[in-house]
Amino acid sequence: MIRVDGLTKKFATVTAVDHINFSCHQGEVFAFLGPNGAGKTTTIRLILAILTPTEGRITVNGIDVRENPESARRQMGAVLEENGLYDRLTAWENVSFFGELYGMEKNRLRQRIEELFALLGIEEFAYRRAGGLSKGTKQKVAVARALVADPPVLLLDEPTAGLDVLTQKTILSLIKTERDRGKCIIYSTHIMSEAEQASDRIAIIHHGRIRALGTPEELKQKTGKAGLEDVFLEVVREQL
């Protein structure tokens, strides 16, 4: 579904992403685990063609992101670091607007939003302006927006950061459901337990480079550590 080869992004003298390679398949949750400033967000921005790579190639469902960014983005839904909701639009209008950008037909769009709002338990907030919603509800609306066109690929940048336990659980459970429906999901986090619990494979990223990649079990075996937190510390320490 997603293939990344030799991806590099330089900002002036800083190399934010340095020759990384990985792939994420259909029905897989692939987590980027790393501290702040490791290059997780930049990688997601590159896959979404928000940024242009300095080097390397990204394909989404066989579509080259650099050559055909709009077609590639049609395959993806994203929840970015900031929820990016329009405060003066209602929750429904926020999601509906993005459905229109995906070219969805009106009836199908209405039906899909109803489904998603029911799934996320936010029906009662549908006609409330986003600016007045709680952080958790806003994040659920952002998730609904990413899923509205039912794209085969989901990119989630720290989707549970700063949320209460119940909302975290709802979102993690939704990630699993969407994986089971065959979606390819890339998500970034710095919460070890969450990565271990929700992902099939993990890439530990630090200073723009992938330092280790594998299933949680493979990573533990490689480093001889019992917990993912110890694995992370071991991998990062090796690179210092």
Partner: protein
Amino acid sequence: MKQKVVFAVLHKELKDALRDRRTLYTTFLVPLLLPALILLPMRLTNYKEKAMQEKPSKIAILYPERFPQLARRLASSGQFLIVEVEKIEWALRRGCINCALEIENGPTKSEATKVVIIFDQTKEESAAAAAKVRRAVRQFSDEIARQRIRELNLDPRILNPIVLKQQNTATGREVSGFLLGLFAAMIAVLGAITGGMTLAIDATAGEKERKTLEVLIASPATRNELVMGKFLATLTMAMLSVLLTSLSLILALRFGTRMFTQLGEQITVELFLSRGIVVSVFLSLLLVASLMASIEMSISLFARSFREAQSYLTPLTIAAVLPIVFMQAIPSNPPDWMFFVPLLNSMLLIRELFMGIPETVHIISTLLSSLLYVVVALRSAFRLFQRESVVLR
């Protein structure tokens, strides 16, 4: 470019803007009030001037005994109230009198009587009273001169060897069109400049500040579709503002006619709006609004926040107002090159159209050059939206 996506962006921007107080204020309230706010003081000034002319001015006469006929004449004219004061300057400053008249010497056949008018130019009422005294003294002086001529058995008409008359070749429509066109062009162009500004800022710098722009550019819409949608929304608001300004102007004129004075005559402002004029004025304003929308969006995109964008746009607003200032000094037959100057060309064309003397070459050069500027400005907006260093700044 997918039309459906462009309209989705346009629809969202308008909905978002119509729920924003700042946009409502600049697009609807200001244009509605602006013509009235400009016309009202003019009207009040006219009323005040008229009232000052009709109301007797308080004057003091120093040494009336030196020329009692003059003092009596002023007192009996009904235009003045003679007040006795001791200190002239103090009385003037306190407003006890509007002006004073000092008679330096009495009348003799060999020497002219010298009269000094003492007034305070910084006070409107004092300046108006001085003008009234000047007129009254001059009239009295003319009467004495005529009397003396008659006493010498001569015809008083020898005092006026030249009789001056003036004939204005401009038609009523041209005079009224010149004034109204100047005023309407200024107000409508100002509406086109400011009407869409808040939306242009909000849809670019505002979206950056609220972190919604990144999510938007991660959608399948192309950057050009996003720019076009935002541009059309800005243009719609600017044109709405122009429409409201024009309506407000028509209403203000209807309730405030006879406001322009020229050569001392009251001129009734009439509207001569043929279909051709309306279409040409609309096209001209549409191009001004399009040009400003593209420039405002491009400049705002460089800013990180709404406030920063406002600071960037301040010089642009000042630069855009300059043609308005210059226009007042430009005669009714400006040189052809002026119809290629952005903004100024549209204002001059509107004035020509209102005067009913539009020249085809001016219509063509204004519309084509403005269209060219719009294309260039819009293309640079498209190009800027492609640059990640600008969009993600």
